[in-house]
Amino acid sequence: MNEFEDIEQLLKPQCEFKASKTLKQEVMEKAREEIRPQRTIKLWPWLAAACVIGFIVMFLMPPKSAVKDSMEGKPLVAEKVEMTKPAEEPKQVDKTPKTETTSDIVETTKQPKAITASRKTRQKVKEAPAEEPVEMSEETRMELLLASLSDDEPQMEEMDSHETIRQIRMRGERLISMYNSINN
């Protein structure tokens, strides 16, 4: 029995075991960190979402120039309409009476110039007092007509093809009517 106790005694600790002094401090610090309240609403998802929205806005925004035009209120369609208006002008010329004097002829032959000119200048031309009819020979008349045609050539180049064809047709008609009147 004594031997049994001796063995037990032999197996008991013979020295003191001491944990390091920092162990307690470390445990307490870690415990305090665990207690510290953490942020319940995480910020990073919101920050990421804001960045993504920023990029989307940057890529989908119209260019600066387009924004400027829209702010000034310049509809592009309205401009197109204004451009087509002058083309309608020659129709009024068609309504002129067939019995024309020489001055009228000169005026009408010069109308292609008036098409490109502003409305005011056209009105001035119309308001100008009609010249008195002067008797001219056939040769002079033909010369005047040819001169008018040659004067128009640079302008003809400027017109687009559709208008040119129409003008040529009108002039041809006038020439025929003049020829008929001379013959009569």
């Binding site: 008991k12 013979q14 162990l23 445990v27 665990e34």
Partner: protein, 170 residues
Amino acid sequence: MREETDKLLKELERIVAERQDWLFRFAYMRIGIREDAEDLVQEVLLSVFRRLREKTGIDSVEQYVIRSISNACTDYFRRKPLRVVVLDKAKEVAVSESDRQIHEEYVRINRLLESLPKEQQEIVRLKCYDELTFKQIAELQDIPEATAKSRYRYAIGHLQQMIKKKGDEI
């Protein structure tokens, strides 16, 4: 809320003050490396603190601490099997001057117990070195108390014979 946390911290402080040396000895006598043993002690104490915070109800803090450190040591050997030092080479392991005494003690006990089966080794350590009762040992090992007692008797008897043999040889 503030009072509650202060109370918890005070409770932890008390447990640390009372049990840290015992826990360190328990871990060191199985591992033999101070740093690792202290890490395990820290883990165990923090797990106790978490349990106290969750109020999951530790019936016996004492029993919970013993079981935790025992499980932590088992896990340690599962995680780091390569760090287990062969007993013959244990003396060669670099130990600081202050730890020399406890390391010699570790070697001495392990030399005495090395001839025993592992289950008996653990019961002898728990009874003689860690000063647990047979009831506590039985609970910890999940065995009947009688089995714990008989294993202990066999172990001591075996050690007696071994020491006698060595005495006769000398």
